[in-house]
Amino acid sequence: MSRYRIAGKGRVDHGAPVRFTFDGRAYAGLRGDTVASALLANGVHLMGRSFKYHRPRGPVAAGSEEPNALIGTRRGPGRFEPNTRATMQEIRDGLEASSQNKFPSLKWDLGAVNDAAYMLFSAGFYYKTFMWPKSFWHRVYEPIIRAAAGLGVAPTEEDPDHYASRNLHCDVLVVGAGPAGLAAARAAAAEGLRVVLVDENAEVGGTLLSEPQAQIDGRPAWDWLAAELEALKALGVRIMTRTTAIGYYHQNLIGLCQRLTDHLDVLPADTPRERLWRVRARRVVLAQGALEKPLVFHGNDRPGVMLAGAAQTYLNRYGVRVGDAPVILTSHDSAWYAAFDLQDAGARVQAIVDLRDAVREELLNEARARGIPVRLSHTVTATSGRLRVSAVRVNPVTNGKVGAGQAIKCDALLMSGGWTPSLHLFSHTQGKLAWDEDRTTFLPALTPEDCVIAGAGRGLWGIAAALRDGAEMGREVAQALGKAGAALAHDVQNDRTGSGVSMKELPTDRNPGKAKAFVDYQNDVTAKDLRLAVREGMRSIEHVKRYTTNGMATDQGKMSNINGLMIAADALGKPAPQVGLTTFRPPYTPTSFGAFAGYHRGTHFELTRKTQIDAWAEEQGAVFEPVGQWRRAWYFPRQGEDMEAAVRRECRQTRASVGIFDASTLGKIEVVGPDAVTFMERMYTNPWAKLGVGRCRYGLLLGDDGFIRDDGVIGRMAEDRFHVTTTTGGAARVLNMMEDYLQTEWPDLNVWLTSTTEQWSTIALNGPNAARLLAPFVEGVELTEAAFPHMSCAECTVAGMPARLFRVSFTGEIGFEVNVPAPLGRKLWETLWQAGQQYGIVAYGTETMHVLRAEKGYIIVGQDTDGTVTPFDAGMGWAVGKAKPDFVGKRGLARPDLVAGTRKQLVGLLTEDGSKLEEGAQIVFDPKQAIPMKLVGHVTSSYHSDAAGRPIALALVEGGHERMGETVHVPMPDRTIAAKITGTVFVDPDNTRLKI
């Protein structure tokens, strides 16, 4: 039994020791302990170093608001996380805990020299210095500042754990399972509502866990709690512990993070480490209780200085005495009970120092009965002890004057500055707060969300009040949801209600300008820092916060915001409500990235769309490239081939005989209806009315700003039916745009639009042998020049499969695109592949497709155009139906800048030295000019072309269409390349190869 553990006391299992290490040293705690309670039981208060001054620190709290006792926690490879709150991390067998922000050791930390120079490191000191010499900021000052800052070290290995997420709908979500939350859940559940009750702690009960002395309905608090839990379960309440409500989002969407494995000795194989819940609740009850405020005085951060309520929790919940000889310092009644409990548990309380000049007689009697010395109207002006408090200096205060101090030896100083409601989640709702002068604190007022606050969260102290209010709020939400609603009444004995006063810095006889009186422990913000910020003109509390970093530590101001406000308001000479609080931001407590990412990791980060032929390509050893969400076969290397060799072979063989290409990713939209042709006339630049059934046409889609959005071949399958193809990446956008115009602008048109991208597998055959290969499989269409010329389409049968056959070419060779029902795609592909062997068929990927089309000057929207290119810029004025009264983009095309002569226009480029240009390379007319140069365009596409016998390129060049034959220059880092402007067609300009 560790020296500070009290046999049989608390909710820990005294028969179940748990072994863990802290900074390499082995310790034993009990099942149910947190790291903090277990270390305290072993007499260890020193658990960390502060951010700026590296001051030794121990736990000041017992819950999630802890700012000091942050540790690194590890469970084998990959499972390390910094900045874990020792007060929340349950111990488990084998847990490796380590202290942070120290070198070489927690007890002897070199960084503590900062503490000696603390007067220099005042609020905002870094804004005032480190500016000379200029180059030193980057090379000297910033690296030093960065190395000094930060708390723990980041993980360095990939996380082997997995994370989950789930949605949940309920009638009532109750956040916080203390007395108020329990009562609210009970009242709502009793009406048959679906209730979810969550609590961030390992077990429910809240305050009740720290106050076993209370009697509820004639039973000891813990017995009552156990029975109440059973009752709630019987009513079907879903109770979730280790579950933090992290954020309150629009319309009662609450994010929860549930921690599932960090407390377990042995990791279960299939359990996620954490689970994010998105709860949509019809009503929310916030019953998060209140947080105890520290007192602000010189030396209030020494290990052993702790909140009185925390000491009570360590004692009653964990059976740990935080000291043998504590001193109590308080401005609130509640700390007196901590003194009584500790004295009753065997400690010798050295003194109760109360800042008030009068307290309830009953408290004085209780103290007297226990022989505890009491000092009213006293303050503490200092503490001493290097790594643990060993004495406090106590001074009388008379009429505001501080008298001579006297040292009292102690091993713990337990303080209470009163309580402040936990308003974080309420604040997320953009709820308004109202100042309560009696309690000198902000209370929740108005919120736009359907939520109520119960218990200490709205300033009602004590178990009886919390139970009463919880039940009342439970009834209120039940009624709001149409139920009758009833509030259970409870009889509570031994309740410890109390009152107190709110303090700024405690009165002192010392120079307040030199006091180390901490307000934000973790960020080392002192009262003098706050006053300095105000002195320097920071009048808004947001400025004070940002200038001093008060409230920006990992406790998110839970410990510091109200004290900071009181001091800043005093410095400003304004009442606190006029100064106001800073906004609390989600999450309530720091939440792991893994929980937010959830399932979306690795291959599940985003779905990967694959065609029916993808597996075949993979078997063939294809290299893939991501295109939007699709993965497409990029090229098919044979043994020993690199990309260039593979692409050259694929190109050669396609032009020599036949190549097969998976075009299934092309977007496909079925446009059907009596007004289909009218719709097409209005959407696309081209005329469609005269396009015969069984014919297809290249279509160009603009935005109403006149710039090219998409393109594709469109077949007229019937008078009232078009088979529209789009780019791979543009499919969803194009359909949305079509729907938008159809539904919103032309609702009178009788047209239906259906995405058929995933309904068809599309296989392209190109090459002089394409018709020869395909013809034997086709029934219903004769593949001759006369019967099925270029730009024809038909419904037919291919290899026994129903098909839509297009005679189109994106290569300049005889080309077909066969669409068959998607699941048949691979069968058709393999059939053609087999039959193609006699022709030496080659499978090609997207890279070869790009080369072949560039050789013919066919553009790729998004590569040769970039959202600022008109059809005329792209040399495709022929695709614009000038006679049409209107189409999307027609008016946009007439805007002054779009008809100007100096636009960048798509041309071909041939380098004079025969080198291949780099895609993206910039073009100038005058290579000799100085930087910054006048840039007149850029290379959009560039490939080595076997067919052209040289590298070819497409480029956008200012006024390019009028500059045929002129030389432009491409300045590269090492040299400038001269290139001649040409047309965009490099192979077979007369289209002879398209003919069968």
Binding site: K128, M131, L151, D161, F605, I931
Partner: protein, 417 residues
């Protein structure tokens, strides 16, 4: 104004810091100013500073509905870079970077401009083409930006996941070494202090309710919560609220305001040396001097003034970060917040004169306004002082939306094909 340096810091430290004076006074409005600037963010305060320091115009008020620097200046992820594609953008942002480099010295306020490099990751062939286009354009515009192979990118940013089996594998990166970050609040404070020292009034918590015009149509002044303030010139620099303010002068703008969220992790020791942006997965990350990982998100889909933003976007943003940096999976999010960004159709700013004589506007920065702060403020001051645009901001007119001469960086980034 006490000069800030190591000696004054030491001297004051010895005196218990009791002798520091306010960095700017809490001014009350006077009846009339030569120039009233609406919006006390970095852009507005900077414009006031340059009006006073470069143009000798000191009878200036900067008015804000809240506290200075409380809008997007204090809510962004502090990324500074200038590797934009178009000459117009590159010149404007590079002008800003030039000023950033000396801003601490110029203002005698350490804004912590940290030249740590911005790495933009290419995750597909289209990214590669697009980044190379940027790199070549930047080089010839005198803007630094260079291509890194996957290996080089990994060396520059060791936490980067370069596994070829990643969902979106890294195929290379564009690096601008001169780019980096700065301390956002300090920018507003430094300009405020510099402007105030030169006689500029900074009036906080004073909402401007309307811009009033004279009978001849020109600007007369502004109606505020503290009464009417006469002004010879009015300049609006109110970010997400610009539409609302300008509408009172009868000027309707091509602007929409969207919520933009950002977040930080708990602070850790230095583990991330540079800034990384990935457009393909929508992730932006750096580590602050305090040790927090600073992470930017995209905008929500709907317009809003709520500064709130939804949970799904945060989930996606963090998934994107852990996709590129899987070792951060066990880091924790400390705090997330929202801002309101004003977005134009071409995602470039509007910076110049308006159809109303003596009324000027600086808006439409979308998600990229912080990096431009000194440059934009500088040329905005020029425009206000001379009633004509500086050559650098001349292309950023309101008229371009009529003529179609857009500066479309977003379109230039284009789409996957």
């Amino acid at each position: 104004m006490t000069r800030f340096n190591a000696f004054s810091l030491l001297k004051n430290a010895l005196g218990g810091h009791r002798n520091w004076t306010e960095q700017w006074p809490d001014s009350q409005p006077r009846a009339e100013y030569d120039v009233v600037i609406v919006g006390a963010g970095g852009h507005g305060l900077g414009a006031a500073y340059y009006l006073a320091s470069q143009h000798g115009i000191t009878n200036v008020a900067v008015i804000d509905k809240g506290w200075l620097g409380g809008g997007n200046t204090g809510r962004n992820t502090t990324i500074i870079r200038s590797n934009y594609l178009y000459d117009e953008s590159a010149r404007l942002y590079d002008h800003a970077v030039d000023l950033w480099e000396n801003l601490s010295q110029e203002l005698n306020y350490n804004v912590m401009y940290s030249r740590r490099g911005v790495l933009m990751l290419a995750h597909n062939v289209h990214d590669v083409q697009s980044f190379k286009r940027h790199i070549h354009a930047n080089r010839l515009n005198g803007v630094d930006n260079r291509w890194l192979t996957v290996q080089e990118a990994k060396e520059y940013c060791p936490p980067l996941n370069i596994s070829p089996n990643a969902r979106y594998p890294v195929m290379g990166a564009a690096l601008q070494e001169r780019a980096g970050t700065a301390r956002h609040d300090a920018v507003a404070w430094g300009y405020a202090r510099g402007a105030a020292a030169r006689g500029v009034d900074i009036i906080q918590n004073c909402p401007v309710t309307a811009i009033r015009r004279n009978a001849d149509g020109s600007v007369a002044g502004v109606e505020t919560a503290k009464g009417f303030i006469r002004a010879k010139k009015v300049a609006v620099s109110a970010a997400g609220h610009t539409s609302v303010v300008m509408q009172t002068a009868g000027v309707r703008l091509p602007l929409e305001s969207y919520p933009l969220q950002a977040l930080v992790s708990e602070p850790v020791k230095p583990c991330f040396p540079c800034v990384v942006m990935s457009n393909a997965v929508h992730a932006y990350i750096s580590q602050s001097d305090k040790g927090e990982l600073v992470i930017g998100s995209g905008t929500d889909q709907y317009t809003s003034y709520s500064q709130r933003g939804g949970l799904p976007l945060i989930e996606h943003t963090i998934a994107a970060i852990t996709e590129v940096f899987p070792i951060f999976n066990r880091m924790r999010m400390l705090r997330k917040w929202g801002g309101i960004v004003d977005v134009t159709p071409d995602r470039s700013a509007i910076l110049g004169k308006t159809p109303v004589p003596n009324l000027y506007v600086n808006c439409g920065w979308g998600t990229g306004g912080f990096k431009a702060t000194p440059g934009a403020a500088h040329v905005f001051a020029w425009t206000i002082a001379k009633d004509e645009p500086h050559p650098i901001n001349a292309p950023f007119t309101l008229e371009r939306f009529r003529s179609g001469r857009l500066i479309d960086e977003a379109a230039a980034a284009a789409v996957a094909h």
